[in-house]
């Protein structure tokens, strides 16, 4: 065979060197298994074959860490974990699926997870990460990050129509002095602006509303910013499954193939350093993808193809390999349309050039399909066919350049065996001297993680497609921080989808288990806050981690996954898809900086009637203010602690049983009534970063209605003796709720047996007034000034 690599005679050292030199990112065990395979075949592998194996077996495509055998030691106790994925994530989904009959349509098996929406449609959801590319080329990385996840949704089942995007970013500290930024790293503010522009220019051009997101700043993201891009899609019932048939043509649709993005999949499993090149980053073109989207939805509805997938990581090699897994395929690489001449066959095969989809089209539909594409100036090219041989045969100008067994490609590869450890730390409750709490509140509102993201949100189109119901910014002046967003994808129906996220990586510094529980809890609270319910919620889990070969890093991951499982099962919530990104570490002058292990929980909440929506801004003078949920002394890793350099304190926990009861009753209370003044609950806001103090301030300045509350009335753990703790503790499972003054009895009746406390009322004037435990007024702040504190930080 052409381009054979001298391989079967190599020793261990040489195999390792070869993996490194060819950027295969395969470890010795994997290289040896490949060597064994070719020894049995009695020939050397072709370069293209090694490349294909490396792509297919890459961490990016195969999730080797989540499927590994792990020896986990917690406080000296040994536990054998046979796949984190199966033992926790899938298990949680299976358990929830048993209780939510018909809700789960397609989970973990496709590019995106699919759940039931109504009797005619299902909803698909996927969140991807695009971290490494965004570190090197923020604009291009974010562009192709969003382009990629849109194609995931377009390529799930027989193709879902994207209806909303969500984007979550973690950056280094934006106000870092330029001289302190190490060589080879872009300044966090430059990365932030580039990523924002990249998402804006791609998402807006695609005509998909960006309705939800979050931005966090922390110094450990300096060399490894995180860019999570998510897309929600809608797909007609019955179109969730696909299967290429023997004899179907392999058609590449959309962009041409170039040398951009070679080794993207394997590159994502390497630690970055000062010398990493940007050539592995793909180049995006939104309009090309929009054209592809337009023709594919038409072809789908005409039934012109049997299967579809996107060309993402690994390019054709992954797409064709995946679609032909059960069959076999023959690909004529010279037929792929190229951006320019000079690509080697293996480069065509693994290039991650953007805006390409691969479809299997029965020969009888070839003409109609190609014509449909041509009519809208979309290039569609037959590059081969699916044939029932069990082999992946690659040809270039008639010559065989690669010939791989599908079975070895997909089922070969050794399982990883890893070690993990975790030591529980003793947590101490802390006592905080109460100073000027008004000033503390203003500082918290100005904290970049809490501060208004308006300057970013307003650069994204969140109205396109006409389904925007609860917008990212709400309130009297359309500038308050909405909890979840709601979209109504079918313009003549009232079914809605709420979209939210939960992320709090700092809690992981104390205990990743509670970080995970908090993230799930937060995402759920956001959905409930706008009128959603537990029955309609499905979750995605995205893990961005450091090097999993380090025992302590993997130990943190195990704790996190356990937290995911326990919280999801406590609320009967399924995970429907997810993603992991490892090796988010940066080597600087020989020193490794790892990101904090970061879990993003994204949630969709299907709502039968989106007219039941509510927003978080205070509405009417005289209405009552309640806190749902109990406040504990949990100041650890919260934003008050971060601001004041406090390292101690207990991390917020979740009391599953009590939380669930609170959630279920609150959902009922929110659903009562039709017109605004018939509603029991007029406003509801999730209590999260900055605790009760920030939540009530946000509600007041969003509604431009003053509020008077008393901390002594807040349901709290007995031993709390300090105003600052009640005001700023970030205890989970809490909401601040505005209750219609005339419906107090009805509210309390519905909330019977739940943790609620009436803490004050919406009052006249333009101030937030808070009485402390002593009964004395401890905060009296002008709403416009509070709002300005919140708005000023990120006005760039």
């Amino acid at each position: 065979m052409k381009n054979e690599i001298k391989f079967i005679g190599l020793g261990e050292k040489e195999l390792e060197t070869l993996s490194k030199d060819m950027l295969l990112s395969l470890n010795l065990k994997e290289m040896k298994e490949i060597q064994e395979h070719y020894k049995n075949l009695g020939r050397e592998p072709a370069q293209i074959e090694l490349e294909t194996l490396a792509q297919t077996w890459s961490e990016h495509c195969k999730h080797k860490v989540f499927n590994a055998l792990i020896d986990y030691v917690e406080d000296g106790k040994v536990e054998k974990i046979d796949s984190l994925f199966r033992s926790y994530i899938v298990k949680a989904t299976d358990e929830a699926g048993k209780k939510k009959k018909d809700f789960l349509v397609s989970v973990f098996s496709d590019n995106a997870g699919i759940v039931k929406f109504n009797d005619e449609f299902n909803i698909a959801f996927k969140v991807e990460t695009h971290n490494h590319p965004s570190a090197l080329d923020p604009y291009g990385g974010a562009n192709t990050g969003i382009g990629g996840v849109i194609r995931d949704v377009l390529g799930c089942g027989l193709g879902a129509k994207p209806i909303a995007n969500t984007d979550i970013f973690c950056f280094g500290e934006f106000d870092m002095p330029a001289k302190d930024v190490p060589k080879g790293i872009l300044h966090p503010k430059r990365i932030a602006k580039g990523v924002r522009a990249g998402v804006r220019d791609y998402g807006n051009r695609m005509g998909i509303p960006t309705v939800n997101g979050a931005i966090l700043f922390e110094e450990r993201y300096l060399g490894n910013p995180l860019v999570f891009c998510g897309t929600v899609g809608i797909i007609p019932k019955g179109m969730e499954t696909k299967a290429a048939k023997d004899g179907d043509l392999i058609i590449s649709v959309g962009g041409k193939t170039g040398r951009d993005g070679i080794h993207g999949a394997t590159f994502s499993s390497i630690e970055l350093d000062e010398s990493t090149s940007a050539a592995a980053v793909q180049i995006g073109n939104a309009i090309e993808e929009k054209k592809v989207l337009d023709v594919i939805l038409q072809a789908r509805d005409r039934g012109l193809y049997t299967a579809i997938t996107d060309c993402g990581a690994g390019g054709f090699s992954s797409a064709v390999g995946e679609m032909g897994e059960e069959l076999g395929a023959e690909v004529h690489l010279e037929k792929a349309p190229l951006k320019y001449e000079g690509l080697a066959p293996w480069e065509i095969w693994v290039s991650e050039a953007q805006e390409r989809m691969v479809l299997s089209v029965p020969p009888k539909h070839e003409k109609e399909f190609i014509e449909l594409c041509a009519n809208e100036d979309v290039e569609a090219t037959v590059i081969g066919e699916f044939v029932k041989t069990g082999m992946l045969k690659l040809l270039y100008n008639g010559e065989i350049v690669g010939d791989l067994e599908m079975d070895f490609l997909h089922n070969g590869g050794p399982r990883r065996e890893l070690k993990a450890k975790w030591e529980n730390k003793k947590e101490e409750k802390i006592s905080i001297k109460t100073g000027n709490l008004g000033e503390d509140l203003r500082k918290l509102l100005s904290h970049p993680n809490i501060a208004s993201k308006e300057s970013t949100i307003r650069q994204y189109d969140h109205e396109v497609q006409g389904g925007s119901i609860i917008k990212p910014l709400v309130g009297a002046e359309n500038d308050g921080p909405g909890d979840a967003a709601i979209v109504r994808p079918l313009l003549d129906k009232n079914d809605g989808v709420a979209i939210a996220n939960g992320i709090n990586p700092m809690y992981g510094d104390i205990d990743p288990y509670w970080m995970a529980a908090s993230a799930v809890d937060e995402a759920v609270r956001n959905i409930i806050s706008v009128g959603g319910n537990l029955e309609g919620i499905a979750l995605l889990d995205n893990f961005c981690w450091g090097n999993p070969e380090k025992e302590d890093k993997l130990g943190e991951l195990v704790r996190t996954v356990k937290g995911c499982y326990d919280t999801a099962t406590a609320y009967d919530l399924p995970f429907i898809s997810g993603k992991d990104s490892f090796y988010n570490e940066f080597i600087l002058k020989g020193k490794t900086i790892a990101i904090p292990g970061t879990l993003l929980i994204s949630a969709i909440g299907v709502m039968k009637d989106c007219r039941k929506r509510i927003s978080m801004d205070l509405k009417e003078e005289g209405n009552l203010i309640y806190v749902v949920g109990k406040t504990f002394n949990e100041m650890g890793a919260g934003h008050f602690a971060l601001l004041n350099g406090i390292k101690e304190g207990a991390v917020p926990k979740v009391r599953f049983k009590e939380a669930r009861k609170n959630f279920e009753s609150l959902v009922k209370a929110i659903a009562v009534g039709g017109k605004n003044d018939e509603r029991i609950v007029r406003a509801c806001h999730d209590c999260s970063e900055g605790g009760l103090g920030v939540a009530i301030a946000e509600m007041a300045f969003a509604g431009m209605k003053s509020a008077e509350i008393e901390l002594g009335k807040v349901l709290q753990e007995e031993e709390i003796k300090e105003d600052a703790v009640i005001l700023f503790s970030e205890s989970n499972s809490r909401f601040v709720v505005e209750v219609n003054a005339g419906k107090k009895k009805e509210f309390e009746e519905i909330m019977k047996g739940c943790e609620i406390s009436e803490i004050g009322e919406v009052s006249g004037g333009n101030e937030l007034a808070i009485k402390g435990l002593s009964g004395k007024e401890i905060v009296k702040e002008n709403l416009s000034e509070l709002k300005e504190s919140w708005k000023k930080t990120l006005r760039w």
Partner: protein
């Protein structure tokens, strides 16, 4: 028979879905048609009574907003659109559609010359794309058929990066004296001259505007609907109802 509307789309159009929905809501039959279908002759403009060019980023707006689409309208469709207008039909351009009408010269269409560009829509003063709800008021004195009897403020979103309306002084004067100014922003979001949000041609049958009335077709769209009770007859519908009424 229902009047028929054609929603003209091309690569990068992205508001055809909700535009089509609103047209049907008020009584039109509406088809989304790719410009290539008109160019090839598969579909005929004259089979329709109203042409709507919806929002989006036609051809990426890479040569300036809607420039490529405008060129296609001028050079590939030739006289089709002017003839369509002269026959008494309606044309509505929203956002990118307004940009296409302005850049092809269909608006302001002085003296019935629909091929001379007199004004433009350029980068917002902010320098970037903006998404926000604005309020616009009808200032037309009676020429524009789309705004008949609209004496109320219409809130609706703007979603554009290049929405700043600019024109030389004499053109501004002519627009005013001809009663071709239709919508003004209550609070100018983008630096448009004299707060202009939309203009019509001399016949009053061609309207172009930057804001998106089609995105305010139910009270649920309004960002204020959780605060105050809003009529389900959303203000954005009025423009489309007038267009429908024209054919009754």
């Amino acid at each position: 028979m229902k009047p028929k509307a054609i929603v003209l789309r091309t690569a990068g159009t992205n508001c055809e879905y909700e535009t089509n929905h609103v047209l049907k809501m008020v009584g039109f039959d509406a088809d989304n048609v790719h410009i290539n279908e008109l160019i090839r002759g598969d579909k005929k403009l004259l089979d329709y009574q109203m042409l709507v060019i919806p929002g989006g980023f036609s051809h990426g707006d890479y040569l300036g907003s809607a420039k490529i689409l405008a060129n296609k309208m001028t050079y590939k469709l030739g006289n089709d659109i002017p003839e369509f207008i002269e026959k008494g039909n309606l044309v509505l351009g929203i956002c990118n559609g307004f940009q296409a009408l302005v850049k092809s010269g269909i608006l302001p269409g002085f003296g019935g010359n629909y091929k001379k560009q007199e004004t433009t829509l350029t980068m917002n003063d902010s320098g970037h794309f903006q998404d926000e709800w604005i309020e616009m008021k009808n200032v037309n004195k009676g020429k524009c058929i789309f705004t008949k009897d609209i004496d109320f403020i219409i809130p609706c979103p703007i979603n554009h990066g290049e929405g700043k309306f600019v024109a030389p002084k004499e053109i501004m004067g002519k627009l005013k004296s001809n009663d071709q100014v239709v919508f003004k922003y209550v609070k100018n979001p983008n630096g448009s001259y004299e707060d202009i949000a939309g203009i019509c041609d001399e016949s009053g049958r061609v309207l172009g505007l930057m804001p998106h009335p089609e995105k305010y077709f139910t009270h649920l769209n309004s960002p204020q609907s959780t605060r105050t009770e809003i009529s389900n007859e959303a203000a954005g519908l009025a423009i489309f109802r007038n267009a429908f009424g024209y054919f009754k």
